[in-house]
């Protein structure tokens, strides 16, 4: 079991307000997988991610990352995880290059390696010309690129992407997906949340649907669709949220 990239068992999270965001979630992600976690807003996706990365404290259950406990003795688990959060959370006081350098420093990377890795990722994400600019001056698309570069900076074995393409233009979205596929092929395990179902269907090896804090379906996109007696992931999603009438198969073609 310790070979799993992510092993979540009976994870529960109740906020002080009384909201139960996670109700006994169990999930297993194999090393090298590109795993999609899908569900409507408020289903518990971000809470699950926050529990895995230490930004939220679970009420019950366990999380292991490559065999390391991610809750109580979390140092090795966090070292293995890179997070690109849904909301841009860049430090306004830092420049683009400093953002990457400081992040790697928080993960204990030596100075020389930080410098080389910074140059490499700035080049990869077309940010070299912006390296000395403060992060608050960047466009939305550049901020997204920088957030992904930052998540990659310490060479995580498990990369968590929480809606990485929300609000970005088509060109950048495709660019980001290409990069995600590339690093996945190079061996990085990826846990992805997105509202772009077609892309999730194309990109992800396996998918889990989460609703009201519970995993309600899991498997390949075909298996998840079959679980809802439909033929596509989109229809399965519509069945999940109780909006089957919106299915494209119901749309009449106007002659």
């Amino acid at each position: 079991m310790s070979d799993l990239a992510l092993h979540i068992t009976e994870l529960a999270k109740r906020y002080p307000t009384g909201v139960e965001a996670l109700r006994g979630v169990s999930l297993q992600v194999e090393p090298g997988e590109l795993f999609g976690l899908l569900g409507p807003n408020g289903a518990g996706k971000s809470t699950l991610i926050h529990c895995t990365t230490g930004l939220a404290q679970p009420t019950a259950g366990s999380i292991r990352v490559f065999g390391h406990d991610a809750i109580d003795h979390y140092a090795d688990a966090r070292q293995a995880v890179g997070l690109a959060p849904q909301e841009p959370n860049l430090d306004w006081f830092l420049t683009v290059a400093e953002t990457l350098d400081y992040h790697a420093g928080y993960f204990g990377m030596p100075k020389r390696e930080r410098r080389e890795r910074t140059d490499e990722l700035l080049e990869t994400f077309s940010l070299t010309e912006k390296r000395d600019e403060r992060t608050r001056t960047l466009s939305g698309g550049m901020k997204r690129r920088l957030i992904l570069a930052r998540a990659m900076m310490h060479r995580p074995r498990l990369l968590i992407l929480d809606e990485p393409t929300a609000g970005v233009d088509v060109e950048l979205r495709l660019e980001l997906w290409h990069y995600v596929q590339k690093i996945n092929q190079e061996g990085t395990t990826i846990l992805l949340t997105t509202h772009y179902l077609e892309e999730a269907e194309q990109l992800c090896d396996r998918i889990a649907f989460i609703a009201e804090g519970r995993i309600v379906a899991e498997g390949t996109s075909a298996e998840v669709a079959a679980r809802f007696d439909v033929s596509s992931l989109e229809d399965a999603y519509l069945a999940l949220v109780g909006r089957k009438e919106l299915s494209r198969s119901h749309v009449e073609v106007v002659p």
Partner: protein, 255 residues
């Protein structure tokens, strides 16, 4: 350097880098403010005030001003830095790293400590050019100043963590901290006050801090040095323990 040392150095560097990037505001402005206090209360008014307990008025005032500079800057820096990072969400980058609560707390604390130290050192240097400022008890002065700096650094962290809006920080500074400092005897001797104000002053913890620092410089104190040092050490340790508990619990930092 080990990974843990790199991590801590980076966390601390980020805090120092923040205030050095806006040094006109964080170093220049408080330095000017202290210089104006020395000019007005020391040189202008001081020339018309007789000696206090056998000490020139300007020399009597300067130790309190140095303590005030260190304490306010340590407090302001840490409370603002933490609250700003919470607002931006940038603090997630540190919180999701392998850093322990102790490493995070120390790094946040030492940022303000350093800023206070720089302003206090510059104030001392400038004051030394203006007046003949003695240092009578260096073995009391140095630990006293360091304890005062660390106490207010901790207080700044506590307020920053608890605060949900900038008003909370401003309230603590304007309506609690500054009155306590001003009424703690920076500009006067408590023995000159009529009752009940003289007695009330002895309930102000900052009164003891000012006396410790003043004793270190000019050898005069209105309170027991040993008892004050002991109380300050205990208060600083207690505040540190409270903060460490809050960081361990993730209070208002993690969901």
């Amino acid at each position: 350097m080990s990974a843990a040392q790199i991590r801590f150095a980076t966390l601390w560097r980020r805090e120092v880098n923040r205030f050095m990037k806006i040094k006109k505001q964080t170093i220049g402005a408080p330095l000017l403010e202290t210089f104006l206090y020395i000019s007005v209360f020391g040189a202008a008014l001081g020339s018309r005030i007789d000696k206090l307990h056998g000490i020139d008025y300007v020399v009597f005032v300067i130790p309190g001003l140095i303590m005030m500079a260190w304490s306010i800057n340590a407090f302001t820096n840490n409370s603002s830095s933490i609250l700003q990072q919470k607002f931006q969400g940038a603090i997630q980058d540190q919180l999701s790293s392998p850093a322990s609560p102790l490493e995070l707390l120390l790094a946040f604390s030492l940022g303000g400590f350093m800023r206070g130290l720089i302003v206090a050192l510059l104030t001392f240097t400038a004051a030394s050019f203006l007046v003949d400022l003695p240092v009578d008890h260096v073995l009391v002065l140095i630990p006293s100043l360091f304890l005062v700096g660390f106490f207010f650094s901790q207080l700044g962290v506590l307020i920053g963590v608890r605060a949900e809006q900038f008003d909370d920080v401003a309230f603590a500074q304007t309506f609690v901290l500054q009155p306590l400092i001003f009424l703690g005897g920076v500009f006067y001797s408590a023995s000159l006050l009529p009752e009940p104000f003289q007695t009330l002053t002895h309930f102000n913890p900052i009164f003891y801090m000012i006396n410790l620092v003043r004793y270190g410089f000019v050898g005069f104190s209105e309170v027991s040095i040993a008892l004050s040092l002991l109380a300050l050490t205990a208060a600083t340790a207690a505040l540190f323990a409270v903060n460490l508990r809050l960081f361990g619990d993730g209070y208002k930092l993690r969901a």
